[in-house]
């Protein structure tokens, strides 16, 4: 069992902040993926419906990464595309659907059908949402496991031998446990970050903080690259400090067809369309050819869909600030 396969591998004794050779963490998506995502890596692109970094997923496909262990609560379209493109060896997840629209058919083809079917080729490791949250929380906390009241009376522990149990030293109760998840790299999309990687998000927070702290390397992809003073003006909004971040990529609309609260809405029409595209391997291949392999970067992807801003740009619901004075 390789290090990537073993959910129980230990955290490194101490984390070193990533210090890029160039002296700056701000780099292109191409350079960020080249530097931090390698064949066989355990990769997390988090964001619960909100702030899913499709731009990073597409660049990983373009660079032809193979054998990845992809972890996410909801694989969503981004992992369906990466599975369809052949990047993934294994999927670790808790809900694999197309939210509000149907199935992830590349995923389904890879796991359905009788043993020996040539289309099947994806190993899976399955939890509930709480289980995935707990795995990342344990990873972020530097603990080897996380206790929870869950899974009694279900078939999940039988399907996943990594779900174990522990006895409470005070009450004698049995509690379920999941092992820590410490990815090689976590990619999070944010509304804004500074050049050092100090990162702020608002709206749904998902499990991004846990995923980032659990990870050996963190790539932050931001709608806006802002001056450090913007971050320092409202420090309670900071999700992760720059010293755990290895790369900062400035990529407006980098979450499309997912969304960024305050920047652009979810492209629900595309999620519905994906049901049709992903159902047919030929259409899926055509999609990847045209929108992923056929473009050099995110800017070209956006140029191919000139109506996005008109359709999806966010309205204004700006809140008031608060006083940090003393």
């Amino acid at each position: 069992m390789s290090r990537h396969d073993d959910p129980v591998h230990q955290r490194p004794a101490h984390r070193r902040p990533d210090v890029p050779a160039s002296g700056s963490k701000v780099m292109s998506m191409r350079d960020a993926i080249t530097s931090f995502v390698h064949d066989g890596d355990t990769v997390v692109i988090e964001g619960f419906t909100h702030l899913i970094c499709f731009a990073a997923g597409h660049e990983i496909i373009r660079q032809g990464r193979r054998g990845l262990v992809l972890c996410r609560l909801t694989p969503d379209l981004v992992y369906d595309q990466m599975i369809g493109a052949g990047c993934a060896r294994k999927l670790v997840f808790s809900w694999a659907g197309n939210p509000g629209a149907g199935s992830l058919h590349a995923f389904r083809r890879a796991v359905e059908g009788p043993a020996g079917d040539s289309a099947r080729g994806l190993e899976i490791e399955e939890y509930s949402h709480f289980g995935m949250v707990a795995r990342l929380a344990a990873g972020a906390a530097g603990l080897p496991f996380w206790p929870m009241r869950d899974y009694a009376g279900t078939d999940l522990p039988a399907a996943n031998p990594h779900i174990a149990s522990v006895t409470c030293p005070y009450t004698g109760e049995t509690l379920a446990t999941v092992p820590a998840l410490n990815p090689d790299v976590t990619i999070i999309h944010a509304q804004r970050a500074d050049a050092e990687g100090n990162t702020q998000i608002w709206g749904l927070l998902g499990v991004q903080k846990e995923a980032a702290f659990a990870s050996r390397h963190v790539i932050v992809v931001a709608e806006e690259l802002v001056d450090e003073r913007v971050i320092r003006a409202d420090p309670n909004r900071t999700l992760v400090p720059g010293f755990i971040v290895g790369a900062v990529v400035h990529e407006p609309w980098g979450a499309h067809p997912s969304y960024a609260q305050g920047y652009y809405d979810r492209d629900n029409a595309f999620y519905v369309t994906w049901e049709r595209i992903s159902r047919d391997p030929a259409q899926l291949a055509t999609y990847l050819d045209r929108y992923v392999m056929g473009v050099p970067d995110r800017a070209a992807y956006l140029a191919a869909m000139p109506d996005l801003a008109d359709r999806l740009r966010a309205g204004n619901r700006t809140c008031a600030g608060v006083n940090y004075g003393y």
Partner: protein
Amino acid sequence: MVTDASSGTRAAAASAGTGRPARYSPNEMMAVVAARELRNGEIVFVGIGLPNLACNLARATHAPDLVLIYESGAIGAVPERLPVSIGDPSLVTGSLMVCGMADVFQYLLQNGRIEVGFLGAAQVDRWGNINTTVVGDYAHPTVRLPGSGGAAEIATHARRTIVVARLSRRAFPASVDFVTSPGQRYHGTARSKPALPGAGPVKVITDRGVLEPDATGELVLTAVYPDVTAAEIASDVGWPLRFRDPIETLDPPTDADLALLRERLDPDKLFLKG
């Protein structure tokens, strides 16, 4: 008193095919029946689709102070449009609180703060066990379904769980292919044995009637919708369905319910088709 539903003359007597075109669809009736289950001021953990519709219908009618919580972290959401997913941005804007999912599952759900959990299901069995994972064998499934999401922990921790599912023999087998979320009895052991904190599925709301667990945890028919017979329901259930006597016939949706559903809550029939 519980009787075998396939002989259900009482229930049959309570309904009569009219031949008239239906004033409402089975999905609309499901949404309305589900909405009626919610009491004003309750804290509800909401799934997407019909559960979300039912909660917002309740909020717009008899339960304006319902607190809607989504596993995505939106608490006290007041969506100004129909949310397409539980992570829709309209659940965030104007909500009371948005927190990380670690807080949702630990400080709200596991901590016993959720009064009602609302789940959909691909399969529900005799004991209320819910399957949203696979049809067929887990290792080599015929149909791979999405999996648990938060359902396993909702059915474990919510004070009571309401399940919404359309009736069919495939959807209501004697035993589900995979227990994703705990029902009332698992391999013969009652839910109280491993001391699951919540009461589990206490109502299964279908498109033709309502099932509830009896004292042993077995789902029995307790109510039918207008123009539906108990026998008809029993024939679509994969175990010898019993019913509680007297069986109730539920009121149809009001015109106000239907207007709200059709004009305000789901005008594009995203979740009400069928």
